[in-house]
């Protein structure tokens, strides 16, 4: 019985899942982020110009990247749990001594 092995297994499984279905998990956020850069950064940013030497693009890049990372990290957890509950394979975890309340 080792709680950390169960945790590692779960993390590895979720990362593999995330990578395996990259057209669903990595491609859409890349496209939406690129569109944000194009519309806000380029088209609107060009009209705003520079403020104290920084372009509007420089200003929005960190925020938009972080927004994408955070929102998709939530979305992936939700979709993974939803399918796990829907297919009932969450029972694989529930029957195993892998829950914090078990120790």
């Amino acid at each position: 019985m080792n709680y950390s092995i169960a945790l590692r297994t779960l993390v590895r499984k979720e990362v593999f899942r995330f990578i395996r279905i990259w057209p669903q998990t990595l491609l859409p956020p890349a496209i939406t982020t690129a569109l944000y850069f194009l519309i806000f950064g380029k088209l609107i940013g060009d009209r705003i110009g520079t403020i104290n030497g920084a372009t509007y693009m420089d200003y929005i890049v960190p925020g938009i990247i972080l927004m994408s990372v955070i929102s998709h990290s939530y979305a992936n957890v939700v979709s993974s749990f939803y399918s796990t509950k829907f297919q009932r394979n969450i029972e694989e975890l529930l029957v195993a001594p892998a829950l914090s309340g078990d120790y």
């Binding site: 092995i5 590692r8 590895r12 297919q87 195993a96």
Partner: protein
Amino acid sequence: MNALSIRNLRKTYNNGFEALKGINLDVEEGDFFALLGPNGAGKSTAIGIISSLINESSGSVSIFGHDLKTDRARAKSCLGLVPQEVNFNQFDTVKSIVFNQAGYYGTPRKLALQRTEQCLKQMDLWDKRDTVSRRLSGGMKRRVMIARAMVHAPKLLILDEPTAGVDIEIRRAMWKMMQDVNQQGTTIILTTHYLEEAESLCRNIAIIDQGLIVENTDMASLLARLHIDHFVLDLAEPIAKVPFIPGYQIERVADKVLNVAVPKEIGLNQFFSQLSAHNIKVISLKNKSNRLEQLFMDLIESKPAGAKQ
């Protein structure tokens, strides 16, 4: 030591339905135990509670002496569950399903890989290890669930209707596999609707009906209670009239087919000599219904609320 010990287990669902009304059950280590009952009797609820999928309303469950409330991790690690319905990720490969389950039980990676290979080979699935599980046939999916349940080498294996909906060849292969696993020392609890299966595999039996255990005994003494055997006779020549033979209840089903109820204390010899005297020639003889099936129906019908807890 008892592999499983259940004391006064009750479960009332939120809608007020009382699925278990205080059951007591002991399963000895190394046993092959049948848990039978009609649909909705409480079998799956009991198994759900034992495997921590359902919270009990009251009572206690201990697995190999580990109480499910106070020593949950150890109790859980002794148990392997094969559920009634397919519940693995349909998009995962066979190998990853079994390997990940070993990881959830805390099996180190190297040992988990060895055990995965061993279990898949035992279940005749090693060739399919890289196949995505949704592409497997129904029988293979069941075997994946058995391999998954055995990968952490549980001391108690619970199989909830493992042979439902599989063909006779696979069913017999699974019986053989269950017997092998049991002989290696694993305690098995089996629920099934095929009473022939329970009769040929299990040593002890409990019957649940309406949330109560109505019978809990060994198979031999349960079967010994059956006083009358029913047989179907195929005749060589059609008969117009049912012959009267004292002590036997005979019924004509078709021109060449007779049903006969044979009391065990009288036996068949006398019956056959009487048939010969009537000049009736019998081609073949078979049991009308499974013996356990008869007892099961008798118990369920005669004890709707009779509690033997």
